[in-house]
């Protein structure tokens, strides 16, 4: 017989909402920065192509923000609805950054509203651009604060439990827990990187379709440059994240690496599978690499998974999540590096169709990497919801109908996902760049 298990459904629904929200949230964090960069270059060079880039990105951004806001509202409420016991405990210690996040939302929402509806109300473009700064700051700060909450779940501190009662609460210590620096830095750099590659993909797509307008080329050049900078930053911060894990959450790193025995000079195993005896087969082995990732020293010792009690080991599937994320990160860094090197050298092959096709793939790949990274971070924390203090089933709701709610939300996300894609496509199809440029020229009386 099939038994109703609210814990399972709560986990699935939380994971689903977050996996959906994160796509729009990432765009929400990164794209305002890209718009600001384009508008700034446009003003500085007095080049209307960049201004138009900023304008068109902004229009698309309205749609993604709307979905980000509604899914964010959903996850915000679901944290209390699905994890009431966890939120009751965590609320005592970590509600400060959640609360501050709402101010970041306010700030962002207010200035975004003003920015969107005042394109033609400012004589001076620079003044209008200034409105974007609070939008970008608000978005990045909301990522900053929410990631602090997630860090706290991984390395809780700032309180003591004496005889079952919570004492000595220190909200600041809880916010700046050991996971905060690497997590926040990684989340922010990956958001900027992903947004840059998504916008680059769009430009590459138009070029691939044979629309050779200089506008698309400018967009591609710019976004590949920004993408390169942030992907290098991402890989560096990712390396620091590995070192953080080795010190504070060694079981998560060990599970990702299928590293069972504690040993020195540990190799990094990519992909492969586990045979019936639990031996790793068919993996690509990079000697010493795990020791380097964990401690920057090829001979250092890395703690293995067998050191941990069996019921406190994360699921082994996180190995694939980790590998896919890292592979994509390395690939995106290499391809943007190659692109820029080839442009500098005047090599023609980067203009070829096949290379353009590779560039179209960068955006979707970056999104996959984001998803894989979060799946790794969240599954890798299991079985804990609050590491060392509360296991996931203890935090979950006991209410009925979580399964029905899951179905309801699956429906909602399907509708929102498809509607946002359809609306975005329609919006840009109806109003292609060439037409808009011509309209602007006519307005100024150049025709």
């Amino acid at each position: 017989m099939w038994e109703y298990d609210p814990v399972f459904f709560s986990r699935t629904l939380t994971g689903l909402t977050l996996a959906f929200h994160i796509i729009y949230a990432t765009i929400g964090v990164g794209v305002p920065l890209m718009i600001a960069i384009a508008q700034w270059i446009g003003i500085k060079k007095n080049d209307e192509h960049y201004i138009l880039l900023a304008r068109r990105w902004t229009r698309g951004f309205v749609i993604t923000v709307a979905v980000g806001v509604v899914t964010g509202t959903a996850i915000g409420l679901q944290l209390s609805l699905l994890w009431p016991n966890f939120m009751e405990l965590a609320g005592h210690v970590i509600s400060l950054p959640l609360f501050m996040e709402t101010f970041a939302f306010f700030f962002e929402a207010i200035f975004l509203g003003i920015y969107l509806y005042t394109w033609d109300r400012f004589e001076n473009q620079k003044k209008h651009m200034l409105l974007l700064i609070p939008v970008a700051i608000g978005a990045s700060f909301s990522a900053f604060f929410i990631t602090m909450v997630n860090s706290f779940m991984n390395t809780p501190q700032g309180f003591d439990i004496v005889n079952g009662a919570l004492v000595n609460v220190d909200p600041i210590a809880a916010m700046f827990n050991p996971a905060t620096p690497t997590k926040v830095a990684h989340v922010l750099t990956t958001a900027y990187m992903t947004s840059a590659f998504i916008l680059a993909s769009i430009a590459a797509f138009h070029l691939l379709k044979g629309r050779n307008h200089i506008y698309h080329k400018k967009s591609l050049y710019l976004m590949m440059k920004v993408g390169l900078i942030f992907s290098i930053a991402t890989v560096i911060v990712g390396d620091f994240s590995g070192k953080f894990l080795a010190e504070y959450q060694p079981e998560k790193l060990a599970a990702a690496e299928w590293h069972f025995e504690t040993e020195e000079k540990a190799p990094l195993k990519m992909f492969g599978w586990l045979d019936d005896d639990g031996e790793v087969q068919g993996a690509i082995e990079i000697p010493f690499a795990l020791s380097i990732l964990a401690h920057s020293d090829p001979t250092s010792e890395v703690i293995g998974l067998n050191e941990f009690p069996e019921d406190e080991r994360p699921p082994l599937i996180v190995h694939y999540f980790f590998d896919i994320m890292v592979s994509i990160g390395v690939w995106l860094t290499l391809i943007s590096l190659l692109y820029w090197f080839a442009i500098g050298q005047g090599w023609r092959f980067v203009q070829k169709k096949f290379f353009n096709f590779l560039l179209v793939l960068t955006g979707p790949l970056a999104i996959i990497a984001i998803e894989m990274g979060w799946f790794y971070a969240e599954f890798g924390r299991q079985p804990w919801i609050l590491r060392g203090f509360m296991k996931t089933p203890e935090g979950a709701t006991t209410a009925g109908y979580v399964d029905t709610m899951l179905l309801l939300f699956v429906g909602l996300y399907i509708v929102l996902g498809t509607a946002s894609v359809i609306v975005l496509r329609k919006m840009f199809k109806k109003n292609p760049v060439e037409k808009e440029l011509a309209d602007h020229a006519r307005e100024r009386g150049e025709w």
Binding site: T71, F99, M427
Partner: protein
């Protein structure tokens, strides 16, 4: 003053802000969908586009502020309300999602979808109805403890007259608040047709609003005598609120001073809302949870209040700027183009 009172007052204030601006938004959505059917769309459409589109996200943040804040100041509410409210609040989320996406989607592309406009209008009435369930539950008698976990008694809730009076009040007051605001807005916009139509709506919904409010107080006598007694102890607050109700209706009636009528409505609702809140004190959920046993520790409370003051200092000038640009800027309201 003790911190628990400071906390609940701040949250109640923001909830009031949400109720007013969301009511305007919800009601306008309903009127616009209705006008689609009644072929008066051209009259209302512009006003909604000009006033509501720039601010809907800000409206939503007021709600987010409230539910994040209440879990921050009173973590036990997550336990009681979180468990009990899974189904009603999930439904509200879905309705909020339909509305939220509407502004973005319809501005580009989905413009002509009648189904969407209809859903959007309907959601505007269903959201207040479903969110008002929270107030009903807080009166007690709908949650029981089973194995130390709160369970919502769906049957009792569904068949209680109190539930339906509160639902009714939430729906009709949304329409009343919204129509009164939009009348004043149309007046500033010098849109006489819209003003005439909206004024009729406002007057039509004023009666049902006051009736359903009276009905709720009567039913509380049966349902929660303690709360009823507290209301009676400060009866003058509600009486004063009633006076302002009369003022609003008279001002609307004489077709003058529309803005004043709206401010008088704000005072009417503020008095009733804070009177209700004060009489509910100290319970967050009858009879299980008061603001004192649900309160967070002192360190967190202090930190939250400091964060609130800092955030508020940032917020007020920004909100002021927003209002100046879109609400109180007569030229914008009239739809004139202007360059700065």
């Amino acid at each position: 003053m003790d911190l628990a009172i400071v906390g609940i007052s701040v949250l109640w204030l923001f909830l009031f802000g949400y109720i007013i601006i969301a009511s305007i938004d919800f009601g306008a959505g309903f009127f616009s969908a209705y006008s689609e059917l009644a072929h008066t769309k051209h009259i209302l459409h512009h006003i909604i586009q000009r006033y509501l589109s720039p601010v809907w996200e800000v409206t939503n943040v007021f709600l987010v502020f409230f539910f994040v804040g209440i879990v921050g100041f009173f973590p036990s509410t997550a336990f009681y309300y979180g468990t009990a409210l899974l189904v009603p609040v999930s439904i509200s989320i879905i309705l909020l999602a339909i509305r939220g996406s509407y502004y973005a989607f319809q501005t580009y592309g989905a413009k002509d979808s009648k189904v969407y406009i209809f859903l959007y209008g309907l959601a505007g009435l269903l959201i207040p109805a479903s969110l008002s369930i929270v107030l009903t539950i807080s009166e007690g008698g709908f949650v029981e403890m089973v194995n130390d976990a709160p369970k919502l008694m769906y049957g009792e809730l569904f068949f209680s007259p109190l539930t339906w009076s509160i639902v009714m009040l939430s729906v009709v007051s949304v329409l009343y608040i919204s129509a009164t605001f939009l009348t004043a807005y149309a007046d500033v916009a010098k849109d006489d047709k819209a003003r005439g139509l909206l004024r009729k709506y406002a007057l039509a919904w004023s009666g049902p609003t006051i009736l359903s409010a009276g009905l709720i107080i009567m039913q509380l006598q049966q349902h929660n005598a303690e709360h009823f007694q507290n209301i009676m102890d400060i009866w003058w607050v509600f009486a004063l609120s009633f006076v302002f109700f009369i003022v609003t209706v008279v001002l609307l009636w004489v077709k003058k001073y529309y803005s004043l009528a709206f401010w008088s409505l704000i005072i009417q609702f503020a008095l009733a809302f804070f009177g209700y809140g004060a009489s509910h004190y100290p319970y967050l959920l009858y009879p299980y949870l008061t603001i004192y046993d649900g309160f967070t520790n002192d360190a967190m409370a202090t930190a939250l209040i400091i964060a609130f003051i800092a955030g508020f200092a940032l917020l007020i000038p920004s909100l002021f700027l927003l209002a100046r640009l879109f609400l109180f800027n007569k030229r914008y309201v009239r739809g004139e183009k202007r360059r700065y």
